[in-house]
C-alpha cells in the first residue's frame, strides 16, 4: 500500500482521457502490478467532461477511489480548475497547455506542461494527443517504464488494426522524445 499511486486523467469527452488511463493500467498490470481503473461517468447524457482514476500498487488495492490523487493529468481548463486543489501535497500536475490558458496556483506541486494539441497537429495525427502526453509523462516519471510500455503495446492493443497501433506507437514515442528534450 505504501507505494500506491493514484493518477487522475481529466478532459473533454473526445480527448481520449479514458483510453489514456486504460493504457496505463494495462501497461502496469503487465509489469506485475495491482491496478484499477475507474471512470467518472458523469451523466446519462451528451457532451461534458470525462475523467478517470488509475491506481497502481504492489499490494492489493482496497480503494480504487480517492479524493486526493497523487497526479492529475489535465487536458483542458475546466479540469485544471476542478482538480488543482485536489492533488496530494507534493504531488504532480501535468497540463496540456494547448487547452489550458492559465498557470496553476499551487506551488508545492511538480508541474509538467506540454502543448499536446499542437504537437499532434504537427504530426498530422490530431487524435494522437493523448498518447503523446502519456509517452511524455512516462518518460519523465517512470510509473511504468517506457520500455515496458512499448513492449506491451501489441498486447494492449490486441484486436486493433495494425495501422491504429502504429499511429499510437508513433504518438507515444513522439511524447517520449519531447519529454527528453523539454522536461
Amino acid at each position: 500500500m505504501e507505494d500506491e499511486k493514484q493518477i487522475l486523467f481529466a478532459g473533454f469527452g473526445g480527448q481520449g482521457v479514458l483510453s489514456m488511463g486504460q493504457f496505463l493500467a494495462y501497461a502496469a498490470m503487465n509489469t506485475g502490478k495491482h491496478v484499477s481503473w475507474v471512470p467518472s461517468y458523469g451523466a446519462e447524457m451528451r457532451g461534458g467532461t470525462a475523467n478517470c482514476l488509475v491506481t497502481i500498487s504492489s499490494e492489493e488495492i482496497y480503494s480504487p477511489l480517492t479524493e486526493h490523487p497523487l497526479v492529475a493529468v489535465v487536458l483542458n481548463r475546466p479540469s485544471l480548475d476542478k482538480f488543482e486543489t485536489k492533488v496530494k501535497p507534493d504531488g504532480c500536475l501535468v497540463i496540456n497547455t494547448s487547452m489550458v490558458d492559465r498557470d496553476p496556483k499551487r506551488t508545492d506541486l511538480m508541474v509538467l506542461k506540454i502543448p499536446v494539441n499542437e504537437l499532434a497537429e504537427e504530426m498530422g495525427n490530431t487524435r494522437g494527443s493523448n498518447m503523446i502526453l502519456l509517452g511524455a509523462y512516462l518518460e519523465k516519471t517512470s510509473v511504468v517504464k517506457v520500455e515496458d510500455a512499448l513492449q506491451h503495446f501489441e498486447v494492449i492493443y490486441r484486436g486493433k488494426k495494425e495501422k491504429v497501433i502504429k499511429r499510437n506507437r508513433e504518438a507515444f514515442l513522439a511524447g517520449v522524445e519531447w519529454a527528453k528534450k523539454n522536461w
Partner: protein, 247 residues
C-alpha cells in the same frame, strides 16, 4: 432591417445539452415556434421522455413534466382529461415511444386522446449510447445488434406512423424529416397541424420526425443528414397518413 429569425419566446434561454449537429435542437425550436405562433404557450403542457431530450423541461418555456420512460401518453391523457383547455404535447424518442411505451401510445391513439405527440425517430437509443431501437434499420449496426440488424433476429423496423394511422381514434398522423431546409419547413407545418387538430378536438395527433444522431451513427452532422436521406427516408416514407377534417 427587420429581424426575420430569432429565438422563439416559448424557449427559455438555456443552452441545449445535445451533441453538435443533433437535430433534436431543430425540432425543439419548431415546436416552440408553433406555440408562439398559435399563442398557446401559456396553455401548453409538455411532457419530456426519458431519452436524450430528458432535459427538455429546461428548454420549453411552459409548464412541463418529466415522465417515466415510455409513459408520456398516459400522463398526457390524465392531464388533458382533467384540464381540457390545456394543450398537451409529448416529445418522445423511438426507444421511449416505440419500444417500452408501445402500449401507452397505441392506446392513447385508440382512445382518440386529444393530445399531440412528437415522435423523434433517430433509429436508436441516443442517450444510453447507441443501442438498437425498434426503428433501427435492417443492416444497421448498433451496440446491441453489433453484427447489424437482421430480420431473423430482430425482425423488421416498426413503422409507427403507419401503425397508428390504422386506429380510428387517430385524427392526424404524418411523417416528416429535418434533413433539409425544405423538409424543416414542412416539419413545422406538420407540427402546427397537430396542434390545430388538438385545438379542434378532433382526436389524437402524432408527427413522426426523422432526426439525426451523429454521435451514435459515427458520422459528422452533415453526413448524418445525408445518411438520413439515403437510408431512413426510403424505409420511412414522408407524408400524411391520416387527416381527419374538422367538423
Amino acid at each position: 432591417m427587420a429581424t426575420v429569425f430569432k429565438r422563439p419566446e416559448s424557449l427559455t434561454d438555456a443552452k441545449f445539452h445535445y451533441c453538435p449537429g443533433c437535430t433534436h435542437g431543430i425540432i425543439h425550436r419548431l415546436v416552440a415556434e408553433c406555440l408562439d405562433e398559435m399563442n398557446i404557450r401559456e396553455k401548453a403542457v409538455g411532457i419530456c421522455p426519458v431519452g436524450c431530450s430528458v432535459l427538455a423541461y429546461e428548454y420549453f418555456n411552459c409548464d412541463m413534466l418529466e415522465a417515466a420512460h415510455g409513459r408520456a401518453p398516459a400522463i398526457a391523457t390524465a392531464i388533458k382529461r382533467l384540464k381540457p383547455d390545456c394543450f398537451l404535447f409529448t416529445y418522445q424518442g423511438d426507444g421511449d415511444l416505440a419500444s417500452i411505451g408501445m402500449g401507452e401510445i397505441v392506446h392513447a391513439s385508440a382512445r382518440g386522446e386529444k393530445i399531440s405527440v412528437f415522435f423523434i425517430n433517430n433509429t436508436l437509443y441516443g442517450m444510453t449510447g447507441g443501442q438498437m431501437a425498434p426503428t433501427t434499420l435492417l443492416g444497421q449496426v448498433a451496440t446491441t445488434c453489433p453484427y447489424g440488424r437482421k430480420v431473423e433476429n430482430e425482425g423488421y423496423p416498426v413503422k409507427m406512423a403507419e401503425l397508428l394511422a390504422g386506429n380510428e381514434g387517430s385524427a392526424y398522423i404524418s411523417r416528416v424529416a429535418v434533413n433539409s431546409p425544405a423538409n424543416v419547413v414542412k416539419a413545422k407545418k406538420a407540427i402546427k397541424k397537430a396542434f390545430e387538430t388538438q385545438a379542434k378536438g378532433l382526436g389524437f395527433s402524432m408527427v413522426e420526425i426523422l432526426s439525426t444522431c451523429p454521435t451514435n451513427w459515427g458520422l459528422n452532422p452533415v453526413d448524418a443528414m445525408k445518411w438520413m436521406e439515403d437510408n431512413m427516408i426510403p424505409y420511412y416514407p414522408l407524408g400524411e397518413f391520416k387527416v381527419k377534417e374538422g367538423k
